[in-house]
């Protein structure tokens, strides 16, 4: 395994810029997810690392070697594809063995039948077979070695694809949305397995996904990409709690973060929400606040802003309540309420929402994060007023 450095990589397809000067360093043994909406350039970046695509400018460095001149197979990387990309005409064992055969046998030794009798091929073949068996055992697919990919379920194919990557003992694993073709239940299961595999191998993983849950649950660090740019790199907590940009805040987290427009009171920098002081002091350039659903409390009696319960979803373990604000009718706030709070029976009734000022995030007109902090408001008759 090795460190992977992406240095100032740019890529254009015709007139569209897919990557603009992207840089990122993935440490040895680290699990980094590249995440972003479709078309953000994450897959292209992965393909450039692999060598399947050639960048216009910039370098890729693996370990201490610049690999830009090397063919994909010479970079000692393994890739797991979204569609698994198994050879349909070869059985599982041959699929897993393919990269090793290409590395260790020459063209004549690879010939069918005759190849086996050429000098050196017996030893090499034995070694390959042993490694294939080991990988299969590790992934619990030993009983499938003789089958063709067409006879396997989605999850089994996925494991074979991982096995083919595993046997190479690569400098880094590249995974391109490997779980998106699986059904929901299996996806959750394979998520755990891949995370465990990473812990066991202690190898470098670069994982492309558009699913923020996958990125959050598996990664050491997440790189969020938008429009060909890496806009933030950080641990899952950092990216979730301290997004640098409103696009990051909106992309990470489900249900989505609430974004409400605010006015800034000139004297103190108090953010004014729907005519009421919010209890948050911000940089004067702020135009909106982002508040995650779990930082919002909804109550039938009192709160910062009044509204009507428009919809509520009971997930069993918790409920999500959607409140349309009286003062800002175009805004619907999603709040998380606890288990058994019974909001689903109160749709259409009045409610009040308030939030934890310490968890509020402020953004300027360009969507950039700006500073803000909580400022304890006083509640007077169910309405918050600015202190002093």
């Amino acid at each position: 395994m090795a460190e992977v450095q992406i240095r100032n990589v740019s890529k254009r397809f015709g007139t569209t810029t897919v990557l603009e000067n992207a840089s990122l360093t993935i440490s040895k043994g680290e699990f980094v997810s590249l995440i972003g909406p479709s078309g953000c350039g994450k897959s292209t970046l992965l393909r450039i690392i692999s060598g399947l695509e050639v960048q216009d400018t910039g370098q890729i460095v693996i370990g201490d070697r610049t690999v830009d001149d090397l063919r994909p197979s010479a970079r000692n990387l393994a890739m797991v594809f979204q569609s698994y990309a198994l050879y349909p005409h070869l059985n599982v064992a041959s699929n897993i063995a393919m990269p090793l055969r290409m590395q260790r046998l020459n063209g004549f030794q690879r010939l069918p039948v005759i190849g086996r009798f050429l000098p050196g091929s017996a030893t090499a073949n034995d070694g390959i077979a042993r490694q294939v068996r080991d990988a299969a055992e590790m992934l619990d697919i030993s009983h499938l070695l003789e089958r063709k990919p067409g006879q396997l379920s989605g999850g089994q194919r996925q494991r074979v694809a991982v096995g083919r990557a595993l046997v190479r003992d690569p400098a880094a694993f590249l995974l391109d949305e490997p779980l998106s073709n699986l059904d929901a239940k299996l996806r959750v299961h394979m998520r755990t397995e891949i995370a465990q595999l990473h812990r066991r191998l202690k190898a470098t993983f670069i994982y492309v996904t558009h699913d923020q849950v996958e990125a959050m649950t598996m990664s050491d660090r997440i790189a969020v990409m938008m429009d060909g740019d890496i806009i933030q790199v950080g641990t899952p907590d950092e990216v979730y709690d301290q997004p640098v940009d409103i696009r990051v805040a909106e992309f990470i987290g489900s249900p989505k973060i609430n974004v409400v427009p605010v006015d800034i009171e000139a004297a103190r920098g108090m953010a004014v929400l729907a005519g009421a002081a919010s209890g948050v002091v911000t940089d004067p350039s702020a135009v909106s606040l982002g508040i995650r659903p779990e930082a919002i409390t909804v109550s039938s009696s009192s709160g910062l802003a009044a509204g009507i319960v428009e919809h509520a979803e009971n997930l069993g373990s918790e409920e999500y309540v959607q409140v349309r604000l009286d003062a800002l009718p175009e805004i619907v706030i999603t709040a998380r309420a606890g288990h058994g709070t019974g909001w689903t029976r109160r749709i259409g009734s009045a409610a009040h929402v308030s939030f934890d000022g310490n968890r509020a995030l402020a953004f300027d007109s360009a969507g950039r994060r700006v500073a803000c902090r909580a400022y304890a408001p006083r509640h007077v008759g169910g309405k918050a007023v600015a202190n002093g």
């Binding site: 240095r7 100032n8 740019s10 000067n21 992207a22 840089s23 990122l24 360093t25 050639v54 960048q55 216009d56 400018t57 910039g58 370098q59 830009d68 001149d69 790189a223 890496i230 806009i231 933030q232 790199v233 950080g234 950092e238 301290q242 640098v244 995030l361 994060r369 700006v370 500073a371 803000c372 902090r373």
Partner: protein, 316 residues
């Protein structure tokens, strides 16, 4: 106050000429490789298709005949000769008659067979194989069998007709009937091919359409055919018409073996005339001019076919 310092580890922008060169070198290699893969095909295409096509057109304006070391430019002479050539008119009209009979004949019989066989619960594969058999059989061998069946003295067909009171004649040697007999052989040979194309078309019609029609109150076979089957098959039908027409335009084998264009040029068709001029009389340039006429017909049909395929896209 929250600290917001996280940003990607951006290094300064470096676009060294070296990286540019590297990228373009790999790109250049990839381009070269693609050309290498296509090259054998391109070379053969130029030598055996495009070059000869051009040569046909050029030859048609010369006086070349096979074996000559030189040739002279003769402008439109060959085409002028064609206008005064009675055999040419005969072969054009015979070819059109042949196409005009074989296309509807093999289309309707093929469609009928397909409809009957597809609606069966049992024995589909059996009947399909039976009707497809002539497509597989070497036409030359079967043409000889047809000839034997037509022979006046021992042939099963004149003998049977004799029982019904017709004179026992070889219809292939009669000016009035030779071409129709060739048409029948043409239909016999190609209806199975059209049948399998129609069967593919039929299997593409969703069952639910018929069920919907039944709920709407249309349950007779007649209604089903005219409201669903026929309109849904329209693209396939157009397609079958064109490819059968193109193939019929090229009728040659049966003519060469059975009639040699006779009697009295009653079965002279375009390809046979080209063959005679080019390879019996070695008048290559005149044969080339005839080929150009043949090509014009084929191109017209192909343009119609391309149009139909576009329409097919609209249907799906």
């Amino acid at each position: 106050m929250a600290d917001i310092t996280l940003s990607p580890d951006r290094l300064q922008r470096t676009q060294t000429p070296a990286t540019r060169r590297r990228a373009s070198l790999r790109n250049f290699k990839a381009q070269g490789l693609a050309w290498m893969l296509a090259l054998p095909a391109l070379f053969l295409m130029a030598m055996l298709l495009l070059g000869p096509l051009l040569a046909v057109v050029v030859l048609s304006f010369t006086d070349y005949s096979l074996g000559n070391a030189s040739l002279d430019w003769r402008g439109l002479d060959n085409y002028q000769a064609m206008l005064g050539d009675d055999i040419f008119y005969k072969s054009i009209s015979n070819t059109l008659v042949y196409v005009g009979i074989v296309v509807p004949g093999s289309l309707l019989l093929g469609l009928g067979a397909a409809l009957l066989i597809e609606s069966l619960t049992r024995g589909k594969a059996f009947w399909r194989a039976v009707y497809f058999l002539p497509v597989m059989a070497t036409l030359i061998a079967m043409a000889i069998v047809w000839e034997f069946m037509m022979s006046a003295r021992f042939g099963i067909i004149p003998q049977t007709l004799a029982l019904l009171g017709f004179p026992a004649k070889n219809w292939l040697q009669e000016t009035a009937t030779a071409l129709p007999v060739l048409c029948i052989i043409g239909i016999w040979q190609s209806l199975g091919f059209n049948m399998v194309l129609f069967m593919a078309g039929l299997s593409g019609i969703p069952r639910t359409l018929y069920e919907a029609l039944e709920l709407d109150g249309g349950s007779s076979a007649w209604t089903r055919f005219w409201t669903i089957t026929w309109p849904m098959l329209a693209p396939v039908t157009m397609f079958v018409v064109i490819i059968t027409a193109i193939r019929s335009f090229q009728v040659f084998d049966t003519v060469h073996v059975l009639t040699k264009g006779g009697p009295n040029n009653a079965t002279m068709v375009l390809i046979y005339q080209i063959y005679q001029e080019g390879f019996d009389f070695f008048r290559s340039s005149y044969a080339a001019a005839l080929t150009v006429v043949f090509l014009v017909f084929i191109f017209i049909l192909t343009v119609i076919k391309a149009r139909t395929i576009e329409n097919k896209v609209h249907y799906s």
